[in-house]
Amino acid sequence: MDGEVILLDAYASMFGMRLRIALAEKGVKYEYREENLPKKSPFLFQMNPIHKKVPVLIHNGKPICESLIALQYIDEVWHDKNPLLPSDPYKRAQARLWADFVDQKVHTLGRKTWSAKGEEQEAAKKEFIEALKVLEGELGEKPYFGGEEFGYVDVALIPFYSWFHAYETCGNFKIGTECPKFVAWAKRSMQRESVSKSLADPEKVYDFVLILKKHFGVE
Protein backbone atom coordinates (compact mmCIF):
# COMPACT_ATOMS: atom_id res chain seq x y z
CA MET A 1 0.00 0.00 0.00
CA ASP A 2 1.08 3.63 -0.43
CA GLY A 3 1.33 4.34 3.30
CA GLU A 4 0.73 7.80 4.70
CA VAL A 5 1.94 10.55 2.39
CA ILE A 6 1.94 14.22 3.34
CA LEU A 7 3.23 17.04 1.16
CA LEU A 8 4.26 20.18 3.01
CA ASP A 9 4.16 22.81 0.31
CA ALA A 10 3.32 26.37 -0.72
CA TYR A 11 0.95 27.09 -3.59
CA ALA A 12 3.36 29.13 -5.70
CA SER A 13 6.45 27.01 -5.08
CA MET A 14 7.78 25.62 -8.37
CA PHE A 15 9.65 23.00 -6.34
CA GLY A 16 6.45 21.90 -4.63
CA MET A 17 4.73 21.73 -8.02
CA ARG A 18 7.33 19.15 -9.12
CA LEU A 19 6.21 16.80 -6.36
CA ARG A 20 2.49 17.44 -6.93
CA ILE A 21 2.99 16.43 -10.58
CA ALA A 22 5.02 13.32 -9.72
CA LEU A 23 2.55 12.10 -7.09
CA ALA A 24 -0.31 12.66 -9.57
CA GLU A 25 1.58 10.83 -12.34
CA LYS A 26 2.01 7.86 -9.98
CA GLY A 27 -1.60 7.99 -8.72
CA VAL A 28 -0.47 8.34 -5.10
CA LYS A 29 -3.04 9.59 -2.60
CA TYR A 30 -1.59 12.21 -0.29
CA GLU A 31 -2.51 14.97 2.12
CA TYR A 32 -1.57 18.43 0.91
CA ARG A 33 -0.61 20.91 3.63
CA GLU A 34 -0.16 24.55 2.70
CA GLU A 35 2.61 26.47 4.46
CA ASN A 36 1.80 30.13 4.94
CA LEU A 37 5.10 31.65 3.74
CA PRO A 38 6.90 33.72 4.95
CA LYS A 39 5.40 32.74 8.34
CA LYS A 40 6.72 29.19 8.69
CA SER A 41 5.07 26.63 10.97
CA PRO A 42 6.77 24.75 13.84
CA PHE A 43 5.92 21.55 11.94
CA LEU A 44 8.01 22.70 8.98
CA PHE A 45 10.95 23.50 11.28
CA GLN A 46 10.61 20.02 12.75
CA MET A 47 10.45 18.28 9.35
CA ASN A 48 13.17 20.36 7.69
CA PRO A 49 15.35 21.69 10.52
CA ILE A 50 18.38 22.35 8.34
CA HIS A 51 16.95 24.31 5.43
CA LYS A 52 13.50 25.20 6.85
CA LYS A 53 12.05 25.17 3.32
CA VAL A 54 9.19 23.65 1.38
CA PRO A 55 8.50 21.26 -0.17
CA VAL A 56 8.92 18.41 2.27
CA LEU A 57 7.57 14.99 1.36
CA ILE A 58 6.66 13.02 4.46
CA HIS A 59 6.20 9.29 3.90
CA ASN A 60 5.06 7.22 6.89
CA GLY A 61 6.29 9.98 9.19
CA LYS A 62 9.76 10.23 7.61
CA PRO A 63 10.65 13.51 5.87
CA ILE A 64 12.44 13.82 2.53
CA CYS A 65 13.69 17.33 1.70
CA GLU A 66 14.99 18.93 -1.52
CA SER A 67 12.62 18.59 -4.49
CA LEU A 68 14.87 16.67 -6.89
CA ILE A 69 15.83 14.24 -4.12
CA ALA A 70 12.16 13.76 -3.22
CA LEU A 71 11.37 13.35 -6.94
CA GLN A 72 13.86 10.48 -7.19
CA TYR A 73 12.45 8.98 -3.99
CA ILE A 74 8.91 9.06 -5.43
CA ASP A 75 10.19 7.47 -8.65
CA GLU A 76 11.98 4.69 -6.72
CA VAL A 77 9.17 3.88 -4.28
CA TRP A 78 6.35 3.99 -6.87
CA HIS A 79 8.46 2.59 -9.65
CA ASP A 80 5.73 0.55 -11.30
CA LYS A 81 3.67 3.43 -12.66
CA ASN A 82 4.86 6.08 -15.15
CA PRO A 83 8.60 5.88 -14.46
CA LEU A 84 10.16 9.35 -14.60
CA LEU A 85 13.85 8.47 -14.88
CA PRO A 86 14.92 6.16 -17.73
CA SER A 87 16.42 2.78 -16.87
CA ASP A 88 19.68 3.21 -18.81
CA PRO A 89 22.45 4.65 -16.55
CA TYR A 90 23.79 7.00 -19.23
CA LYS A 91 20.33 8.41 -19.98
CA ARG A 92 19.69 8.74 -16.23
CA ALA A 93 22.91 10.74 -15.89
CA GLN A 94 21.81 13.05 -18.73
CA ALA A 95 18.38 13.52 -17.11
CA ARG A 96 20.03 14.41 -13.78
CA LEU A 97 22.36 16.84 -15.53
CA TRP A 98 19.48 18.70 -17.21
CA ALA A 99 17.41 18.79 -14.02
CA ASP A 100 20.46 20.26 -12.29
CA PHE A 101 20.74 22.80 -15.14
CA VAL A 102 17.14 23.84 -14.44
CA ASP A 103 18.05 24.52 -10.79
CA GLN A 104 21.34 26.23 -11.56
CA LYS A 105 20.25 28.36 -14.50
CA VAL A 106 16.47 28.62 -14.96
CA HIS A 107 15.71 29.12 -11.28
CA THR A 108 18.65 31.37 -10.41
CA LEU A 109 18.31 33.59 -13.48
CA GLY A 110 14.51 33.60 -13.41
CA ARG A 111 14.65 34.85 -9.86
CA LYS A 112 16.88 37.76 -10.87
CA THR A 113 14.44 38.88 -13.56
CA TRP A 114 12.15 40.10 -10.76
CA SER A 115 14.51 40.59 -7.81
CA ALA A 116 17.38 42.45 -9.50
CA LYS A 117 17.51 45.97 -10.90
CA GLY A 118 19.27 47.88 -13.66
CA GLU A 119 22.24 46.23 -15.33
CA GLU A 120 22.03 43.09 -13.20
CA GLN A 121 18.40 42.57 -14.21
CA GLU A 122 19.16 43.18 -17.91
CA ALA A 123 22.00 40.68 -17.82
CA ALA A 124 19.79 38.13 -16.04
CA LYS A 125 17.01 38.51 -18.66
CA LYS A 126 19.48 37.91 -21.47
CA GLU A 127 21.06 34.88 -19.78
CA PHE A 128 17.65 33.48 -18.87
CA ILE A 129 16.59 33.48 -22.54
CA GLU A 130 19.94 31.90 -23.46
CA ALA A 131 19.35 29.14 -20.90
CA LEU A 132 15.90 28.43 -22.37
CA LYS A 133 17.47 28.28 -25.85
CA VAL A 134 20.01 25.73 -24.59
CA LEU A 135 17.07 23.69 -23.31
CA GLU A 136 15.32 24.05 -26.69
CA GLY A 137 18.47 22.62 -28.27
CA GLU A 138 18.41 19.68 -25.91
CA LEU A 139 14.70 19.06 -26.56
CA GLY A 140 15.27 19.03 -30.31
CA GLU A 141 12.41 17.37 -32.18
CA LYS A 142 11.32 15.22 -29.23
CA PRO A 143 7.86 15.81 -27.76
CA TYR A 144 9.29 15.77 -24.25
CA PHE A 145 12.74 15.94 -22.65
CA GLY A 146 12.08 12.34 -21.63
CA GLY A 147 11.64 11.42 -25.31
CA GLU A 148 8.25 10.01 -26.25
CA GLU A 149 7.29 9.92 -22.59
CA PHE A 150 6.92 12.76 -20.10
CA GLY A 151 9.86 12.32 -17.73
CA TYR A 152 12.11 13.58 -14.97
CA VAL A 153 13.40 16.71 -16.71
CA ASP A 154 9.90 17.63 -17.90
CA VAL A 155 8.64 17.42 -14.30
CA ALA A 156 11.62 19.43 -13.02
CA LEU A 157 11.15 22.19 -15.59
CA ILE A 158 7.42 22.67 -16.30
CA PRO A 159 6.59 24.40 -12.97
CA PHE A 160 8.70 27.37 -14.02
CA TYR A 161 6.23 28.00 -16.86
CA SER A 162 3.71 29.18 -14.25
CA TRP A 163 6.24 31.84 -13.23
CA PHE A 164 6.78 33.20 -16.75
CA HIS A 165 3.98 35.77 -16.46
CA ALA A 166 5.60 37.15 -13.29
CA TYR A 167 9.08 37.16 -14.89
CA GLU A 168 7.73 38.92 -18.01
CA THR A 169 5.74 41.52 -16.11
CA CYS A 170 8.46 42.38 -13.61
CA GLY A 171 11.26 42.15 -16.17
CA ASN A 172 9.36 43.82 -18.99
CA PHE A 173 10.19 41.25 -21.65
CA LYS A 174 8.46 38.55 -23.69
CA ILE A 175 9.70 34.99 -23.39
CA GLY A 176 7.41 33.36 -25.98
CA THR A 177 8.67 35.38 -28.94
CA GLU A 178 12.30 34.38 -28.20
CA CYS A 179 11.59 30.75 -27.30
CA PRO A 180 8.59 29.47 -29.28
CA LYS A 181 9.75 25.85 -29.15
CA PHE A 182 9.95 26.03 -25.38
CA VAL A 183 6.44 27.42 -25.13
CA ALA A 184 5.16 24.70 -27.49
CA TRP A 185 6.67 22.06 -25.20
CA ALA A 186 5.16 23.79 -22.16
CA LYS A 187 1.68 23.88 -23.70
CA ARG A 188 2.01 20.20 -24.67
CA SER A 189 2.97 19.37 -21.08
CA MET A 190 0.07 21.42 -19.72
CA GLN A 191 -2.30 19.06 -21.55
CA ARG A 192 -1.41 16.40 -19.01
CA GLU A 193 -3.87 16.42 -16.14
CA SER A 194 -1.09 15.89 -13.60
CA VAL A 195 0.48 19.15 -14.78
CA SER A 196 -2.59 21.32 -15.29
CA LYS A 197 -3.91 20.35 -11.84
CA SER A 198 -0.54 20.95 -10.13
CA LEU A 199 0.64 24.24 -11.58
CA ALA A 200 -0.24 27.47 -9.83
CA ASP A 201 -2.28 30.13 -11.57
CA PRO A 202 0.20 32.58 -13.16
CA GLU A 203 -1.77 35.58 -11.84
CA LYS A 204 -1.59 34.22 -8.30
CA VAL A 205 2.14 33.60 -8.78
CA TYR A 206 2.53 37.23 -9.86
CA ASP A 207 0.65 38.39 -6.73
CA PHE A 208 2.99 36.22 -4.65
CA VAL A 209 6.05 37.76 -6.36
CA LEU A 210 4.75 41.24 -5.49
CA ILE A 211 4.58 40.15 -1.83
CA LEU A 212 8.14 38.78 -2.09
CA LYS A 213 9.35 42.01 -3.66
CA LYS A 214 7.91 44.00 -0.75
CA HIS A 215 9.39 41.52 1.73
CA PHE A 216 12.86 41.79 0.19
CA GLY A 217 12.61 45.54 -0.37
CA VAL A 218 12.80 45.38 -4.19
CA GLU A 219 10.99 48.20 -5.99
Binding site: I50, H59, K62, I64, C65, E66, I69, A70, Q72, Y73, E76, V77, P89, Y90, R92, A93, Q94, R96, L97, D100, F101, V134
Partner: protein
Protein backbone atom coordinates in the same frame (compact mmCIF):
# COMPACT_ATOMS: atom_id res chain seq x y z
CA UNK B 1 41.59 10.65 -28.88
CA UNK B 2 40.67 7.11 -29.85
CA UNK B 3 37.03 6.24 -29.42
CA UNK B 4 37.52 2.96 -27.60
CA UNK B 5 35.54 1.27 -24.88
CA UNK B 6 36.88 1.60 -21.40
CA UNK B 7 36.92 4.47 -18.96
CA UNK B 8 38.60 7.84 -19.22
CA UNK B 9 38.57 10.62 -16.66
CA UNK B 10 39.28 14.23 -17.58
CA UNK B 11 40.40 16.09 -14.48
CA UNK B 12 42.52 18.85 -13.03
CA UNK B 13 45.24 17.88 -10.53
CA UNK B 14 43.93 19.91 -7.57
CA UNK B 15 40.21 19.63 -8.31
CA UNK B 16 38.31 18.14 -5.37
CA UNK B 17 35.51 17.28 -7.83
CA UNK B 18 37.79 15.13 -9.97
CA UNK B 19 39.17 13.53 -6.80
CA UNK B 20 35.70 12.32 -5.86
CA UNK B 21 35.48 10.44 -9.15
CA UNK B 22 39.00 8.96 -8.75
CA UNK B 23 38.07 7.66 -5.28
CA UNK B 24 34.85 6.06 -6.55
CA UNK B 25 36.59 4.32 -9.46
CA UNK B 26 39.43 3.09 -7.21
CA UNK B 27 37.08 1.79 -4.51
CA UNK B 28 35.24 -0.21 -7.16
CA UNK B 29 38.47 -1.43 -8.73
CA UNK B 30 37.64 0.11 -12.11
CA UNK B 31 40.61 0.68 -14.42
CA UNK B 32 40.65 4.08 -16.05
CA UNK B 33 42.85 6.38 -18.06
CA UNK B 34 43.41 9.77 -16.45
CA UNK B 35 43.73 12.82 -18.70
CA UNK B 36 45.01 16.03 -17.11
CA UNK B 37 43.20 19.10 -18.40
CA UNK B 38 44.57 22.62 -17.95
CA UNK B 39 41.37 24.41 -16.91
CA UNK B 40 42.99 27.80 -17.55
CA UNK B 41 43.71 26.80 -21.11
CA UNK B 42 40.82 24.51 -21.99
CA UNK B 43 41.26 22.00 -24.75
CA UNK B 44 38.83 21.51 -27.65
CA UNK B 45 38.29 18.03 -26.22
CA UNK B 46 36.84 19.43 -22.99
CA UNK B 47 34.54 21.80 -24.88
CA UNK B 48 33.35 18.87 -26.99
CA UNK B 49 32.78 16.56 -24.02
CA UNK B 50 31.16 19.14 -21.75
CA UNK B 51 29.52 21.69 -24.02
CA UNK B 52 27.13 22.97 -21.33
CA UNK B 53 29.60 23.89 -18.59
CA UNK B 54 33.07 23.26 -20.05
CA UNK B 55 34.33 21.99 -16.68
CA UNK B 56 36.10 18.99 -15.22
CA UNK B 57 35.63 16.29 -14.19
CA UNK B 58 34.18 14.50 -17.19
CA UNK B 59 33.95 10.73 -17.16
CA UNK B 60 33.97 9.12 -20.58
CA UNK B 61 32.62 5.58 -20.72
CA UNK B 62 32.38 3.72 -24.01
CA UNK B 63 32.88 7.05 -25.74
CA UNK B 64 30.00 8.78 -23.95
CA UNK B 65 30.66 11.73 -21.58
CA UNK B 66 29.12 12.27 -18.15
CA UNK B 67 29.77 15.49 -16.21
CA UNK B 68 29.12 16.97 -12.74
CA UNK B 69 30.92 15.00 -10.02
CA UNK B 70 27.90 13.94 -7.96
CA UNK B 71 26.04 12.83 -11.11
CA UNK B 72 29.16 10.92 -12.18
CA UNK B 73 29.22 9.15 -8.79
CA UNK B 74 25.59 8.02 -9.26
CA UNK B 75 26.47 6.75 -12.75
CA UNK B 76 29.51 4.83 -11.49
CA UNK B 77 27.41 3.28 -8.72
CA UNK B 78 24.75 2.15 -11.21
CA UNK B 79 27.17 0.69 -13.76
CA UNK B 80 29.64 -1.02 -11.40
CA UNK B 81 27.66 -2.80 -8.68
CA UNK B 82 30.63 -3.91 -6.50
CA UNK B 83 31.45 -1.86 -3.37
CA UNK B 84 28.12 0.00 -3.51
CA UNK B 85 28.27 3.70 -2.59
CA UNK B 86 24.56 4.36 -2.08
CA UNK B 87 22.39 2.25 0.22
CA UNK B 88 19.60 0.04 -1.19
CA UNK B 89 16.67 1.41 0.80
CA UNK B 90 14.96 4.37 -0.97
CA UNK B 91 14.65 6.45 2.21
CA UNK B 92 18.31 5.89 3.14
CA UNK B 93 19.27 6.76 -0.44
CA UNK B 94 17.33 10.02 -0.17
CA UNK B 95 19.16 10.81 3.08
CA UNK B 96 22.53 10.06 1.49
CA UNK B 97 21.69 12.33 -1.46
CA UNK B 98 20.56 15.06 0.97
CA UNK B 99 23.79 14.94 2.98
CA UNK B 100 25.94 14.76 -0.16
CA UNK B 101 24.24 17.93 -1.45
CA UNK B 102 24.74 19.51 1.97
CA UNK B 103 28.41 18.53 2.02
CA UNK B 104 28.93 20.11 -1.39
CA UNK B 105 26.83 23.27 -1.08
CA UNK B 106 27.15 24.09 2.61
CA UNK B 107 30.37 22.49 3.82
CA UNK B 108 32.84 22.62 0.91
CA UNK B 109 31.47 25.76 -0.72
CA UNK B 110 31.40 27.86 2.46
CA UNK B 111 34.99 26.94 3.35
CA UNK B 112 36.14 28.01 -0.12
CA UNK B 113 34.22 31.30 0.16
CA UNK B 114 35.64 31.93 3.61
CA UNK B 115 39.15 31.42 2.24
CA UNK B 116 38.67 33.73 -0.74
CA UNK B 117 36.83 36.63 0.90
CA UNK B 118 37.79 39.36 3.32
CA UNK B 119 36.27 41.64 5.96
CA UNK B 120 32.57 41.32 6.71
CA UNK B 121 32.04 38.86 3.85
CA UNK B 122 34.73 36.59 5.30
CA UNK B 123 33.21 36.73 8.78
CA UNK B 124 29.81 35.78 7.35
CA UNK B 125 31.31 32.91 5.35
CA UNK B 126 33.21 31.55 8.36
CA UNK B 127 30.02 31.67 10.43
CA UNK B 128 28.15 29.75 7.65
CA UNK B 129 30.95 27.22 7.46
CA UNK B 130 30.98 26.62 11.23
CA UNK B 131 27.17 26.21 11.23
CA UNK B 132 27.46 23.69 8.40
CA UNK B 133 30.14 21.79 10.27
CA UNK B 134 27.92 21.73 13.37
CA UNK B 135 25.11 20.07 11.38
CA UNK B 136 27.55 17.61 9.86
CA UNK B 137 29.00 16.79 13.30
CA UNK B 138 25.50 16.24 14.70
CA UNK B 139 24.58 13.86 11.89
CA UNK B 140 27.83 11.87 12.16
CA UNK B 141 27.30 11.52 15.94
CA UNK B 142 23.67 10.48 15.38
CA UNK B 143 24.74 7.74 12.96
CA UNK B 144 27.53 6.60 15.30
CA UNK B 145 29.34 4.71 12.53
CA UNK B 146 32.93 4.87 11.33
CA UNK B 147 31.89 6.51 8.07
CA UNK B 148 28.77 8.25 6.89
CA UNK B 149 28.03 5.20 4.80
CA UNK B 150 28.41 2.84 7.76
CA UNK B 151 31.44 0.65 8.34
CA UNK B 152 32.62 1.20 4.75
CA UNK B 153 33.13 4.38 2.76
CA UNK B 154 30.04 5.53 0.92
CA UNK B 155 28.50 8.26 -1.20
CA UNK B 156 28.50 11.05 1.38
CA UNK B 157 32.03 10.24 2.56
CA UNK B 158 33.33 10.59 -0.98
CA UNK B 159 31.52 13.89 -1.63
CA UNK B 160 32.57 15.38 1.72
CA UNK B 161 36.01 13.76 1.57
CA UNK B 162 37.76 16.74 0.01
CA UNK B 163 37.78 18.47 3.40
CA UNK B 164 39.96 15.66 4.75
CA UNK B 165 42.98 16.74 2.71
CA UNK B 166 42.21 20.33 1.68
CA UNK B 167 40.48 21.97 4.66
CA UNK B 168 43.65 22.58 6.70
CA UNK B 169 45.27 24.25 3.68
CA UNK B 170 42.20 26.46 3.06
CA UNK B 171 42.31 27.48 6.71
CA UNK B 172 45.99 28.36 6.46
CA UNK B 173 45.69 30.30 3.20
CA UNK B 174 42.55 32.10 4.32
CA UNK B 175 43.78 32.74 7.89
CA UNK B 176 40.60 31.16 9.23
CA UNK B 177 39.85 28.49 11.80
CA UNK B 178 36.85 26.28 11.29
CA UNK B 179 37.70 22.75 12.37
CA UNK B 180 38.46 22.98 16.07
CA UNK B 181 38.98 19.29 16.94
CA UNK B 182 37.68 19.80 20.49
CA UNK B 183 34.45 21.22 19.04
CA UNK B 184 34.18 18.65 16.24
CA UNK B 185 35.44 15.31 17.60
CA UNK B 186 33.27 13.17 15.31
CA UNK B 187 34.38 14.98 12.14
CA UNK B 188 38.03 14.88 13.28
CA UNK B 189 37.77 11.14 13.87
CA UNK B 190 36.00 10.67 10.52
CA UNK B 191 38.79 12.54 8.70
CA UNK B 192 41.40 10.31 10.37
CA UNK B 193 39.57 7.12 9.39
CA UNK B 194 38.93 8.37 5.86
CA UNK B 195 42.57 9.25 5.17
CA UNK B 196 43.67 5.97 6.72
CA UNK B 197 42.14 4.06 3.82
CA UNK B 198 45.02 3.25 1.42
CA UNK B 199 42.98 3.92 -1.71
CA UNK B 200 41.88 7.30 -0.38
CA UNK B 201 45.31 8.50 0.64
CA UNK B 202 47.06 7.23 -2.47
CA UNK B 203 48.07 9.76 -5.09
CA UNK B 204 46.72 12.88 -3.42
CA UNK B 205 48.30 16.12 -4.66
CA UNK B 206 51.37 17.45 -2.83
CA UNK B 207 50.53 19.76 0.09
CA UNK B 208 53.02 22.49 -0.87
CA UNK B 209 51.74 22.54 -4.45
CA UNK B 210 48.13 22.79 -3.26
CA UNK B 211 49.11 25.56 -0.83
CA UNK B 212 50.76 27.56 -3.62
CA UNK B 213 47.76 27.05 -5.90
CA UNK B 214 45.17 28.08 -3.26
CA UNK B 215 47.26 31.13 -2.30
CA UNK B 216 47.38 32.26 -5.92
CA UNK B 217 43.70 31.55 -6.57
CA UNK B 218 42.41 33.31 -3.48
CA UNK B 219 44.47 36.42 -4.35
CA UNK B 220 43.08 36.35 -7.91
CA UNK B 221 39.50 36.02 -6.67
CA UNK B 222 40.01 38.81 -4.13
CA UNK B 223 41.34 41.17 -6.80
CA UNK B 224 38.46 40.24 -9.16
CA UNK B 225 36.03 41.20 -6.39
CA UNK B 226 37.82 44.51 -5.83
CA UNK B 227 37.70 45.38 -9.53
CA UNK B 228 33.94 44.60 -9.58
CA UNK B 229 33.41 46.91 -6.64
CA UNK B 230 35.35 49.82 -8.07
CA UNK B 231 34.04 49.37 -11.63
Amino acid sequence: MEETGGVKLLGFWVSPFAQRVKWALKLKGVQYEYIEEDIYNKSPLLSKLNPVYGMVPVLVHNGKPISESIIILEYIDEVWKQAPLLPQDPYERAQARFWAKFAEEKVRQSVWEAMCSSGEEKQKAVKSAVEAFEEFEKELKRRGTKFFGGETIGFVDIVAGCISYQLALHEEVGSIKILDSSKFPAISEWIKNFLNHPLINEGLPQKDQMFAYFSKRSKEIASQKMSHKTA
